[in-house]
């Protein structure tokens, strides 16, 4: 069995009721009229994240039982938990992938390449180690990933695996960084009412620029 993370809350998120979350979130729509503060908006957005954590155990619609185990394992190889933030499963990336692929807007090719890529991964693992990806030891799994995770350095005969993993990595990042955990991980600090008056001195200094650049040039 894979580690069960459904229902867990992520560190740092406030405990909120659904009612409180909806109440807070309704403020977003009234922000223009009420001059809502940044903390209120943060609270509203945090509340949304909190709501997602209280759902009943997830049943995938696209992935089979075996694929689901593989995906949950693979996304955490792509983005593991570390000191700053949680892992891809903490951010519910597998649930994101399943929703996208089961959605009516999903293309046939995106579904086939996901299913086929996971099958490729198992076959590669069986051929090399006599075990499916999830049952192979960690070191063996990494041997396969080392062969498909760097397109320019991949050995011949690994092209299909490279293509699959490149898409899978992008989709993992798409799900992870669009989550509350992901925004905090890359320290995105916007999406709020702001009083813009230019970038802070440290950011300007780092790039070696200043607002003097915008001043009209004196004639020569």
């Amino acid at each position: 069995m894979t580690r069960q993370t459904d229902g867990r809350r992520t560190a740092g998120e406030p405990e909120v009721s659904r009612r409180e979350a909806l109440k807070a979130f309704s403020l977003v729509g009234m922000a223009a009229a009420l001059d809502v503060t940044v903390p209120q908006l943060e609270r509203a957005t945090n509340a949304i994240a909190g709501m997602a954590q209280q759902q009943p155990p997830f049943v995938p619609k696209f992935f089979t039982r075996h694929e689901w185990r593989t995906v949950r394992m693979l996304v955490d190889y792509v983005i593991p938990r570390d000191a700053r933030s949680g892992s891809a499963t903490d951010a519910k990336v597998p649930e994101f992938m399943d929703w996208i692929l089961a959605d009516k807007e999903a293309t046939e090719s995106s579904k086939v390449s996901m299913r086929g890529g996971l099958a490729w991964l198992d076959r590669e693992s069986q051929d090399r180690f006599g075990k499916t990806f999830v049952t192979a030891p960690d070191a063996d799994r990494r041997r396969i990933l080392d062969d498909i995770a760097w397109p320019a350095k991949a050995p011949d005969g690994m092209r299909q695996g490279v293509a699959f993993f490149t898409r899978f990595r992008d989709m993992t990042a798409s799900g992870f960084y669009s989550s509350y955990i992901g925004w905090n991980d890359v320290q995105y600090v916007g999406n709020v009412f702001n009083n813009w008056d230019g970038c802070p001195p440290a950011a300007l200094e780092k790039l070696g620029v200043s607002y003097d650049l915008m001043k009209p040039k004196t004639g020569e």
Binding site: F25, V28, G29, A31, A32, T45, I48, A49, A52, Y77, V78, I79, P80, D82, F96, W99, I100, D103, E105, L145, W150, P151, A152, K153, T166, R169, D170, A173, S174, F176, Y177, S178, S179, Y180, W183, D185, V186, Q187, Y188, G190, N191, V192, F193, N194, N195, W196, D197, G198, C199, P200, A202, A203, L204, K206, L207, G208, V209, Y211, L213, M214
Partner: protein, 571 residues
């Protein structure tokens, strides 16, 4: 058209309006605002539903609020939080493309039309842009000059609001500007590189207000103008033009009303507009003394082509045979690059306005180049809100891919370390780019659809090649690496397919000569004096500028002309 429904009798006794406006975007909204202010009783037909950014916007909704994380859908190709309801592919509303041509047609189906989703880049056409043929012998001159339009640009600047800086550039006229926002730090880097390469780089000119206007708050810099603004800090037709027009009590708004044909009487004058009620499928007719089409350049053209009668067998206002001709879109291509100086960003909120804070107006002399018309450059990059598709293609960055702790560190390191440039240039009308009614295909309402023919000339291809070379030079000057190879001529230098930039113009162009144009200098049909067009269709040419500000100016000017003619009893 009569139907047998019990309402038929009542419908024939429909009130007659002074003016029927088809479309509620920049042109329709502006015409409604000006005509109701002048005392006219106006009915407006909008093919989509009601939508007000002040009420319906997804502003500040975080990516994780939906399972799609803000990704695109068929009806919202720019992402599900985008204001636009429409797209290139609308269910039940096909169009066809002639073999050998490539074109795609974007339609908005909502109150306010395209003013809900655009970039708010609001550039006046310059004096040269109204006299292309005089300058280089290509295309045609307009029957009006910059001086005719300038007073309307001034009025629009004041009414709608725009920020910018007065620079005194000859063909990029100054305006009545609010203060522009300071550039983001990476935009200063672009400014520095532009200065080095002698590329003019100045504060952008967007219809976003940095100071309050009556009933509207100043921008709060969330960077999400494309979702519509709940504070009404940017321009969209419903909140800025249509709501005040409705407040006069003289505007009747009919939504879900898909116009299909202009009615014509025995005297050859327009009598009103036939439309399909999208909610019931019923065919209806609204009577009016004057008809103003503002359904978008190509939809207005389609309505006129479909308005066939014994008197006008080739469509209404088409005695010249030029209806559907001289259509253009803005040329476009994009290049982005990885900028090492921008790695390991210092966290700060530079969402800014919903668009660029600096841009590059056309800065060169075409007489010294192998293409006749110019382009402007739009700038993007930095640390935007992560959403669906975040940092796709991470393997293109120096580490070349990977997974695990190293990959996670790379996303942090490279987030926001890109700058991109988009070129937006002038296409010259040509004989191979036009639209006509497809002889056999109808949409789900039974309305015959448009068939497009499209061809780029070397004028456009050489211009786009120059864009590619310039953007690559800028990325190099920034110390960066471009993600893509320089495209070849066989690849069209990566020119965006016709219709992609969503600046279609022409189709019912204005002109002094009734044998070579559809409309006169007041956007009034040569063949039908109570018929006007108030969108992009009257444009004689593109420019190296976005068309919206000129659509607004011409629509207001046309509305003033209509009001004068009504007062004089001529209409």
């Amino acid at each position: 058209m009569q139907s047998a429904s019990p309402n038929a009798a009542r419908r024939t006794q429909n009130p007659q309006y002074d003016v029927c406006i088809v479309g509620s975007g920049a042109g329709g909204g502006m015409a409604a605002h000006a005509l109701t202010a002048a005392g006219a009783r106006v009915v407006m037909l909008e093919a989509g539903g009601a939508w007000y950014a002040s009420k319906n916007s997804q502003m500040l909704t975080p990516a994780w609020a939906t399972p799609r994380r803000g990704g695109s859908t068929r009806i919202r190709p720019f992402g599900e939080f985008d204001a636009c309801d429409g797209g290139w592919d609308i269910e039940g509303e096909p169009y066809t493309v002639a073999s050998g041509s490539q074109f795609r047609w974007w339609r908005a189906r909502m109150l306010g039309g395209r003013t809900n989703h655009w970039g708010r880049i609001s550039l006046r056409f310059g004096p040269d842009d109204f006299r292309g043929k005089t300058r280089d012998g290509l295309g045609d001159d307009w029957p009006i000059s910059y001086e005719d339009v300038a007073p309307y640009y001034d009025r629009i600047d004041r009414l709608i609001g725009i920020f910018g800086s007065n620079e005194g550039l000859r063909n990029h006229p100054d305006g009545v500007f609010q203060p522009p926002p300071k550039p983001r730090c990476y935009e200063l880097l672009v400014k520095k590189a532009s200065d080095k390469l002698n590329v003019t780089c100045i504060p952008s000119r967007l219809s976003i207000i940095t100071q309050p206007l009556p009933g509207r708050q100043a921008c709060h810099y969330c960077g999400q103008c494309n979702r519509g603004c709940q504070a009404k800090a940017n321009f969209s037709s419903p909140d800025v033009l249509i709501a005040p027009a409705l407040a006069t009590g003289r505007l009747r708004l009919l939504t879900n009303a898909m116009a299909r044909e202009v009615g014509v009487g025995a005297d050859g004058l327009a009598t009103g507009v036939h439309y399909v009620d999208r909610t019931t499928g019923e065919d209806r007719f609204v009577r009016a003394r004057i008809v103003v089409l503002a359904a978008s350049a190509l939809e207005s053209t389609r309505i006129l082509l479909n308005s066939r009668s014994a008197k006008f067998p080739q469509g209404l206002a088409n005695s010249s045979g030029t209806l559907g001709k001289y259509i253009t879109d803005t040329t476009g291509t994009d290049v982005s690059g990885f900028i090492p100086a921008m790695t390991d960003h210092i966290p700060h909120n530079h969402d800014g306005v919903g668009g660029l804070h600096v841009y590059m107006p056309w800065w060169l002399d075409n007489a010294k180049l192998d293409f006749p018309r110019g382009y402007h450059i739009e700038v993007w990059g930095g640390t935007g809100a992560p959403g669906a598709g975040f940092m796709g293609g991470i393997h293109r960055y120096p580490p070349g891919g990977g997974y695990g702790a190293q990959l996670k560190a790379d996303y942090r390191k490279y987030y926001g370390a890109t700058i991109g440039f988009s070129g937006r240039g002038e296409m010259i009308p040509n004989a191979d780019s036009f639209c006509e009614i497809d002889p056999s295909v109808v949409d789900r309402f039974g309305i015959p659809v448009l068939r497009f023919h499209w061809k780029w000339a070397d004028h456009e291809l050489n211009q786009v090649k120059h864009m590619q070379e310039t953007f690559r030079a800028l990325v190099a000057e920034l110390g960066g690496t471009v993600f893509s190879q320089m495209p070849t001529k066989a690849e069209g230098y990566d020119i965006a397919r016709g219709g992609t930039i969503i600046h279609e113009l022409g189709g019912a162009r204005m002109g002094a000569d009734a044998s070579t144009s559809v409309l006169n200098a007041n956007c009034q049909a040569h063949d039908c004096k109570n018929l006007f067009v108030a969108d992009g269709a009257p444009f004689v040419s593109q420019a190296d500028k976005n068309p919206t500000w000129t659509i607004l100016a011409l629509a207001w000017r046309t509305a003033d002309y209509i009001a004068e003619q009504r007062k004089a009893g001529a209409l």
